[in-house]
């Protein structure tokens, strides 16, 4: 279970990216977060696995206060949370299988970590993860030879090999064509239903969000302005979530800049 209590996130430049977020997500939910670019969707998602720090309030993942974690604690938290990115974030120069095998690195003895040697069992688990997303035949192909949709599936397999309870997906289909985007969303849905993993997804395609997610959260200027079933969404609620005046547009641009600088400074 993920629980936000009065969470606030203020960037060093003073911009308030998240304001008074109260949110509770149960294990096994499929949540889509919608809103304009820079509304705070990415920040909201990245706070959950502490890729970003919150500045006020408490954020608990499975009863653990994320804000108190340091070093090893953060890494253990992240082991349990998978993350999917818009640009796939794979090592393109190596094979698909090697990308998936990285999931096992934290649990390996030091000498194997350095040499990059994996056991037969680890390879079997990685291949099973690839099979789950239907690209088993590409296991020994270099990632840069694959299409965007296939690459996103490799990323998904990498996350599955980690066997997390929660998957955070930051615009996973934004750089895919409509057909491939649908297939990837199907994968998410299947994983959600079969493995009972919580899936939280940032998405620009409202129609996809409504078609696949069970719960939709609308974010506007760092605040949650809608939280309900996908079926409850109407044209008016959408207009409200996406409503922005010129003044707000200026603000969203600032937010985007803030997100970019923060991304550069993490890790």
């Amino acid at each position: 279970m993920i629980e936000f209590k009065e969470v606030e996130k203020r960037y060093p430049n003073g911009f308030l990216a998240l304001n008074q977020i109260n949110l509770q997500i149960e294990q096994g939910e499929f949540v889509a977060i919608i809103g304009l670019s820079g509304a705070g969707k990415s920040t909201l998602l990245r706070c959950i696995n502490k890729m970003h720090d919150i500045t006020e309030g408490t954020l608990c993942v499975n009863e653990v206060d994320v804000q108190q974690l340091k070093g090893k604690g953060i890494r253990d938290l992240r082991r349990n949370i998978g993350m999917i990115f818009q640009s796939f974030n794979l090592v393109t120069r190596v094979s698909v299988l090697k990308n998936v095998l990285v999931s096992f690195v934290p649990n390996m003895p030091v000498w194997r970590k350095i040499l990059g040697i994996f056991t037969q069992e680890e390879k079997r688990l990685a291949l099973m993860a690839l099979d789950q997303v239907g690209i088993l035949d590409k296991a020994y192909v270099r990632v840069d030879q694959l299409s965007g949709g296939q690459q996103q599936r490799v990323a998904l397999a990498r996350t599955l090999a980690q066997n997390p309870q929660i998957i955070l997906a930051d615009e996973p289909v934004a750089s895919l064509d409509p057909v491939t985007a649908k297939q990837v969303m199907e994968d998410f849905k299947r994983i959600n239903q079969e493995l009972n993993m919580t899936i939280i997804i940032n998405i620009h395609h409202v129609d996809l969000a409504l078609a696949y997610a069970t719960r939709v959260i609308g974010v506007r200027s760092g605040e949650i302005v809608f939280d309900g079933q996908a079926s409850e969404i109407t044209e008016e609620t959408l207009a409200f979530i996406y409503n922005n005046t010129n003044q707000e547009r200026g603000e969203t641009e600032h937010a985007m800049e803030a997100t970019i600088t923060e991304e550069n400074s993490i890790a």
Partner: protein, 271 residues
């Protein structure tokens, strides 16, 4: 940059439209280059007269080198191998040590700006010191012989490979690195699995290229007593036994050519 003096040229099209073409500043640049060239000739004391009058002396020496003294060959093998050993060991050790220093110097991996600054400073400091001087100092510390030469080459390799490597690390794609952080890997682990595969071919290629150069460097390190074939070169030049010098140079040319060709072959394979 555009001077006010250089008014743009006007081109009129048949249909009456006008296009303003900016004047090229190329003639002015040529003028500046010529002036600088003139002053550099004056300052360096370059004289075409001396060059023309004395050039035949070069061919006199060259003639004395041919034919080379083949009997001298038997004495050359050991110092030649010393030279190669010196450069090989110095290059391998230097390239290995360069990796951790390059990681510390890369600002995208090392978040502590102080550590990165200090590492970069150490690298540029090492690069500034001429290898010959380092070898000379090393002979004071480790005594005459190949040890001093090895240390000099080791330090130069760290500086050279380290500098190029940290620039490659800083230019590496950080997306996979970010993803691995999000999977709970430590910085070192994420570097090993996300950045290293990207830079490895370049790293090996740079190290090989550095080794090539080091063989050439190593051959003159003997001049300051740091072992290798340079010692004999110095000696033979001192005795004006140019046929021996010819033999040494012939051996060096063959060795360097052989090593460069091999290294080039492998570097092409890596790319």
């Amino acid at each position: 940059m555009q001077w006010k003096l250089l008014s743009p040229k006007k081109i009129v099209l048949p249909n009456g439209k006008e296009v303003l073409e900016k004047r090229s500043i190329q003639p002015i640049l040529w003028l500046i280059i010529l002036v600088l060239l003139f002053f550099s000739i004056r300052i360096t004391g370059f004289s075409l007269e001396v060059l023309v009058n004395r050039i035949q002396e070069f061919f006199v020496i060259l003639q004395q080198m041919i034919p080379p003294n083949w009997d001298y060959l038997s004495k050359l093998w050991q110092p030649l191998f010393d030279t190669i050993k010196m450069s090989l060991f110095g290059s391998v050790a230097g390239a290995i040590v360069a990796l951790p220093i390059a990681i510390l110097a890369a600002t995208n991996i090392t978040k502590n700006k102080g550590i990165a600054m200090v590492s970069k400073f150490i690298l540029s400091l090492l690069r500034t010191m001429p290898t010959l001087i380092v070898a000379l100092i090393a002979t004071f510390i480790f005594g005459l012989g190949t040890m001093a030469g090895t240390v000099a080459i080791f330090l130069f390799t760290i500086a050279y490979v380290g500098k190029l490597l940290y620039e490659q690390i800083e230019n590496a794609n950080m997306e996979a690195y970010e993803a691995m952080h999000s999977m709970g890997l430590t910085t070192i682990q994420a570097f090993r699995y996300a950045i290293l595969p990207q830079i490895l071919p370049n790293y090996l290629s740079t190290s090989l290229f550095c080794f090539e150069g080091n063989v050439r460097y190593a051959s003159i390190l003997g001049y300051v007593g740091a072992g290798g074939i340079g010692l004999l070169l110095n000696e033979s030049l001192g005795w004006r036994s140019y046929e021996n010098v010819g033999m040494i140079l012939l051996m060096l040319v063959c060795t360097v050519f052989l090593i460069e060709t091999t290294s080039e072959y492998f570097r092409k394979k890596l790319m």
